[in-house]
Each structure stands twice: as structure tokens, then as C-alpha cells.
């Protein structure tokens, strides 16, 4: 079963006044263990797509399935809990709780999951170690650099043991060293722990290292390229106004065996 599947996902803002088509019939599939970047120019719909997958926004039409569960008809309160148990988020602006230390920020989500306190702290420390912040556990966000904050955000996203992590422009506010550092960490976690990452980005250095790149143009999937050694490039068969029938047929082994299509 695909980890993430969207079916003819569309989003129209201001449908009654000046309609803005943010997404047009987007159908994609993401398998467990993928390291996927969604790229495209500003306004291409990549953030909107990410929000739909993350259950943060509702589509105008179409469906989103996470592990076979349809998010589109889900009530807000259920969606909040679904996100807590299944999805990790990394935001462009880090969005850490400023009054909490790094350790508390990472623990907080586990607290919401009502985990055992000792286990929670142990895992928080472990995660901070794994993102290279073992010595900054008690630092508050304002005492850390942007790169460090974003690494805490990644640790926080991982803390809840989500099915996958959504990251919206995670390197946008970082200098190149910090960006590469973060990317290394994300790639390592993807490889070593089979953590699925789906992120939007403008950053060419990030795009270059992604193993699957879905390119959005005008709210539609323009291309879906897999770069793993075993992957092959697909053909582009459509543009933004396509019917969006393109699907990723990767086998989901974690290193992305599968073909790529353009739709």
C-alpha cells in the first residue's frame, strides 16, 4: 500500500470571485522510504500540495490517502490527532516554541502523544545527539543559530515516530553550510532509518541530492523524476493543464525502485 496517494487533487482559491487554481488534478504516489523533493517556481502549487498531504488544508476536489486512510472527509479534531500520530512537520521558519529548550521542544510532541516521561526524555536526547546537538539540549531557540534550530525541528518531527516527514522549504532560511548539514542529516536518517521525507524546495543544492524530484508548474505535476541508480527517467507527457493521470509506480523499497513519469 502506498504511503501517500493523491487522486486528482485540485484546489481553487476564491472560486466565486477571482478563481486561483493552486492545484489541478494532481495524482501522485509516495512509497515508504522515499526521499522526495517537490520543486517548482513560486506559485506552482508545491506548498499547497504539501499542505494537502499533511492534512493542513482541504482540497476543492480529489482525495488524499495516507496509508490507505482518506483524509479529505476527516473532521478537524480527528485530523489533528491523525497528524500527531502519523506526520512529522518541518517548517521553513523552524517554528520552535521559543520558551522551551531544545530538549523540551523535541519532547513536547511526545508529551502530546502521552508517552512515558523517561522514555520521552531518553528519545529526545537521542534524537538531539543524532542531529548533532547533544551539547545544546538546554539551549532555547534564541540561543541557537538558524541551522541548529532547524535541526531541532527535524528532531522534533522525528520524535513522534511519524509515517513520514513533510518539510516545507527546510533550507530556505539557512546558509549553504547549514543547509548541507541539514540535508546530510535528513539523507542519513532516510538511509539508516528508512525515514520517508517529502519536502518542497527551491534550493538547487537540495534538488541535486534528492532521489526523487516532482516538478510542479501552474498547479500540475510537470515531471516526476527518480534519480536512484536503479531508477530510470520517465517521459514528460503533459503540462500543467494535463488531466493529472501521472502516477509514481515506485515499488517503495526505500531506495526508490521504480520509474518516473511526467504528467
Amino acid at each position: 500500500m502506498a504511503l501517500v496517494r493523491t487522486e486528482k487533487l485540485s484546489k481553487v482559491y476564491n472560486p466565486d470571485t477571482v478563481p486561483v487554481h493552486a492545484l489541478r488534478d494532481v495524482s501522485i504516489t509516495i512509497e515508504p522510504g522515499e526521499f522526495t523533493s517537490i520543486v517548482g517556481p513560486s506559485g506552482s502549487g508545491k506548498t499547497t500540495l504539501l499542505n494537502m498531504i499533511g492534512g493542513l488544508d482541504k482540497p476543492s476536489s480529489g482525495k488524499v490517502f495516507i496509508n490507505g486512510t482518506d483524509l479529505t472527509g476527516m473532521k478537524d479534531s480527528k485530523l489533528i490527532d491523525f497528524r500527531l500520530q502519523n506526520i512529522g512537520f518541518v517548517f521553513q521558519h523552524y517554528n520552535l516554541i521559543p520558551v522551551f529548550t531544545a530538549r523540551e521542544n523535541v519532547s513536547f510532541i511526545m508529551l502530546l502523544q502521552k508517552r512515558d516521561k523517561k522514555e520521552m526524555l531518553r528519545r529526545a536526547d537521542e534524537l538531539l545527539e543524532s542531529v548533532g546537538l547533544g551539547d545544546r539540549k538546554d539551549a532555547r531557540p534564541k540561543e541557537m543559530s538558524g541551522g541548529q534550530q532547524q535541526r531541532v525541528a527535524v528532531a522534533r518531527a522525528l520524535a513522534s515516530e511519524p509515517k513520514f516527514i513533510l518539510a516545507d522549504e527546510p533550507t530556505a532560511n539557512l546558509d549553504s553550510t547549514a543547509a548541507m548539514n541539514l540535508l546530510d542529516i535528513m539523507l542519513r536518517m532516510n538511509k539508516e532509518q528508512n525515514v520517508t521525507f517529502v519536502f518542497s524546495t527551491h534550493d538547487q543544492r537540495v534538488i541535486d541530492r534528492a532521489r526523487r524530484v516532482i516538478t510542479m508548474v501552474d498547479g500540475a505535476v510537470d515531471s516526476d523524476e527518480r534519480r536512484d541508480g536503479t531508477n530510470e527517467s520517465g517521459d514528460s507527457t503533459g503540462k500543467g493543464n494535463s488531466t493529472g493521470t501521472g502516477t509514481s509506480t515506485g515499488t517503495g523499497t526505500g531506495n526508490g525502485n521504480g520509474n518516473a513519469q511526467k504528467s
Partner: protein
């Protein structure tokens, strides 16, 4: 819950200056409110105590029409029987029989309308402490014949001195105009200037000689052992005797009744006014905090914090913020009242004006533990009400705020 309290507490101190100002406002507001309530309570209680101790006693008995008409022939029939009954009732601790009527005081300077009160000094001293109001000269227990004591302000008005003689004119029980001269032996000064200007005191035995053929009594004031016993004793008197009317101190003095009623309400009125003003401060602070944290709250909702938790977090912030100030305010107020209970608030500068109103110029604030609790509950309720709107706004924040650029 512990985490919510921690996060709420730390959020409060995110902007120490802003939170500090609000807490200071709550401290000052609550301190002022509690001290004001205490002062008003004290003022009212002193007035009640004063009127009971100095004049009214706990209950009074009159001819049913005397209080409205004031004629000397409207005296209490068979007063001896009533006095005997009072003597025998264990609940009654003291009584004073008064002979009184309205009349005129004539001095070389002018004439004034006064109520002439004839008293048995021994009985009166056991029933009221009016004698403590003497400021000059002697009380009526001196041996001087036809002694009279007058209010200090009335004396000044008539340019009277101790030893001067005045003429009292009144209607006797036979409806005939009668007059007699009395010797001024002393001046009194009660808390009420109005009372001082309208009342003179003589001995019953002196007064009766001019008023009637035998001792007549127009008013019997009595005290009971416990304030709570008053209604029962009064009911018993009314049930036992006819042709008279016994009334409790609250029935006799509408002013006292209003004071007692007001006393209960004032506490909440004053606190409510102060807290309503503070509620806008709380609302403003919480809304500002909310607008600054749209992205953060969006993030909390994104990662899976339930709306109930977000709602509770905002409410907790308001309550902790206000309670920090309120408890400090209470502590200060408690200290202030403790201090003022000993020394009193001395309004001597305004003594004349205050006396016109019948109030004492040294006020001893009073506030009881249940009143503190009442104020605290009111503070919490108003704080919660003031924070419901920001909390509702918080849970309506779109999680997408977390992803916004600014």
C-alpha cells in the same frame, strides 16, 4: 496539565515588561479594591455600631403612632408591666425608658426646633454609651436641678455656654403648651452634626414634672445578649403586649437597614467595576500575545496539539497572569488592612464634612475571609470571561499560519 501550566507561565514572561505592567495594574487594582471595600465595610459597620450603641440600642418600643406623630400624649400604656417583663427575660441585658417630645429651644439669640429627650441616666448608661459623647461640662448625673445637655454645634449656633439657661417649650400630655427653663451643664458631640443640632437631653424626672402628672414613657430602648436574638424578642414583646409596637434596630432606622443591605452588595460592585476595567487590559494583552504568536499556534495545531489544549493554554495564561497580580494585591491589601485596623484611616481634615453626614472621621477597615474568597472568585470568573474571546480566536487559527512567511 503540568506542561500547559509550564508553557503558559513561560509565555507570560516572554514579554516581561508587558506582563509586568498588567500584573502591576492587577496588583494596584485589587489592592485599591480590597482596601476600598474594607473601608466602606468599616464605615458602615462603625455607623451601625455607633447608632446601636449610642442611640437606638437593639430594639425599641413605642406607642404605635408616636414615631410618626411625636405628640407627648402618645405614650406607652402600662410601661411598668413591659419593663418588668424585660427585667424577667434572660435574653434582655439592659433597657432604658425615655420620656420625650418635640419642642422648641429658646435662647437669647434664637429659637430652634429640637427633640427633648428625658432619660434615666443610670439606665441610659447601661443601655447606650451616649454619655461618652460628652465633650465639655458634666453629664446629667450632676446634682444641678433642671439640668440639660445640648449638642456642641447647637450651642455654638445659639452662642451658649455652660451655666447658661435656656427655655424649652413643648406640649404637655394634656395638649397644653408648657415651658420650663433648664440649666446647661454640658455639651455633647456625637458623630452626626444633624443629631447634635436637633436633640437636647434632660433627666426624665425633671421633664415629667412639666409634661404630665405622673411619669410617662414614650420610648423603651433595650439590648439583648446576641444580635441574632433581636427579632425573636421583638416578636415576643409584640405578642405579649397590646397598644404598643416593638421594632428591631433595622426597622427603626431605615438608614441602618440600607447600610446593611448595601454592605453586602458594595463588595461586589466595587470589585466588579475594578475588574471590568482590568478585564479590558487582560483582553488587550492576550490579543496582542495571540497576534504575535499566530505562526506558533498554527504550528502547535499542525503538529497535533488539540484545540482544547490550545484553548486551555490561553485561558491558563490569562488566569496565571491575573492571579499572580491578584494574590500579590490581596497580600498587600491584607497587610494594609491589618495595619489600618490598628491605626484607622484618619480623615480628620474632612471631619466636619464627614460629621455632617453622621460618620466617624476615623475609619477602621474590616474585611472578612469569606469576602476575600468572594473577591477572588469574582476575579477568576471575570478573567476567564475576558480570556474566552482570545482563546476562541486561538483555536480558530488556521494551521497553515505555521507555513506563512511573516
Amino acid at each position: 496539565m503540568k506542561t500547559l501550566i509550564t508553557i503558559a507561565w513561560r509565555n507570560i514572561w516572554r514579554h516581561p515588561a508587558r506582563s509586568g505592567v498588567l500584573i502591576a495594574a492587577v496588583v494596584v487594582g485589587l489592592w485599591a479594591g480590597v482596601v476600598t471595600v474594607g473601608t466602606v465595610n468599616g464605615l458602615m459597620q462603625q455607623r451601625i455600631d455607633y447608632l446601636i450603641d449610642s442611640e437606638i440600642a437593639h430594639a425599641q418600643i413605642h406607642h404605635p403612632e408616636f414615631l410618626a406623630e411625636g405628640y407627648s400624649w402618645l405614650n406607652i400604656p402600662d410601661h411598668e408591666e413591659i419593663l418588668n417583663w424585660l427585667d424577667e427575660d434572660a435574653r434582655v441585658t439592659a433597657w432604658s425608658a425615655r420620656t420625650m417630645t418635640d419642642g422648641m429651644l429658646q435662647s437669647p439669640v434664637k429659637t430652634s426646633g429640637v427633640r427633648i429627650r428625658g432619660i434615666d441616666t443610670d439606665r441610659e448608661t447601661r443601655t447606650t454609651d451616649f454619655h461618652e459623647n460628652m465633650v465639655e461640662g458634666e453629664y446629667l448625673d450632676s446634682g444641678i436641678r433642671n439640668a440639660v445637655i445640648v449638642g456642641k454645634s447647637l450651642a455654638q449656633d445659639h452662642n451658649l455656654r455652660i451655666g447658661n439657661r435656656i427655655v424649652l417649650v413643648f406640649e404637655d400630655t394634656g395638649n397644653e403648651l408648657s415651658s420650663a427653663s433648664f440649666n446647661i451643664v454640658g455639651f455633647f458631640e456625637s458623630a452626626s452634626t444633624e443629631f447634635d443640632e436637633r436633640n437636647v437631653f434632660v433627666r426624665s424626672e425633671d421633664f415629667t414634672r412639666y409634661l404630665a402628672d405622673e411619669l410617662v414613657v414614650h420610648e423603651i430602648a433595650f439590648r439583648v445578649a446576641e444580635l441574632e436574638m433581636v427579632p425573636a424578642v421583638v416578636a415576643d414583646v409584640n405578642a405579649t403586649f397590646s397598644g404598643i409596637e416593638a421594632q428591631t434596630w433595622r426597622e427603626i432606622s431605615p438608614e441602618l437597614n440600607v447600610l446593611v443591605e448595601l454592605g453586602g452588595v458594595m463588595l461586589y460592585v466595587i470589585t466588579l467595576i475594578i475588574m471590568l476595567a482590568l478585564a479590558f487590559g487582560i483582553l488587550n494583552t492576550m490579543l496582542m500575545a495571540l497576534f504575535e504568536r499566530m505562526r506558533e499556534i498554527g504550528m502547535l495545531l499542525s503538529i497535533g496539539m488539540s484545540k482544547l489544549r490550545v484553548f486551555s493554554m490561553i485561558l491558563l495564561e490569562s488566569v496565571i497572569l491575573t492571579l499572580s497580580g491578584a494574590l500579590t494585591g490581596f497580600l498587600l491589601a491584607w497587610g494594609s488592612i491589618l495595619y489600618l485596623t490598628g491605626s484607622g484611616i484618619n480623615l480628620e481634615r474632612f471631619a466636619a464634612g464627614i460629621a455632617e453626614l453622621g460618620w466617624d472621621h476615623i475609619i477602621f477597615p474590616i474585611i472578612s475571609p469569606p469576602e476575600y474568597v468572594g473577591i477572588l472568585i469574582l476575579v477568576i470568573v471575570i478573567t476567564l470571561l475576558a480570556s474566552v474571546y482570545p482563546a476562541l480566536k486561538a483555536i480558530r487559527i488556521n494551521p497553515l499560519e505555521a507555513a506563512k512567511d511573516s
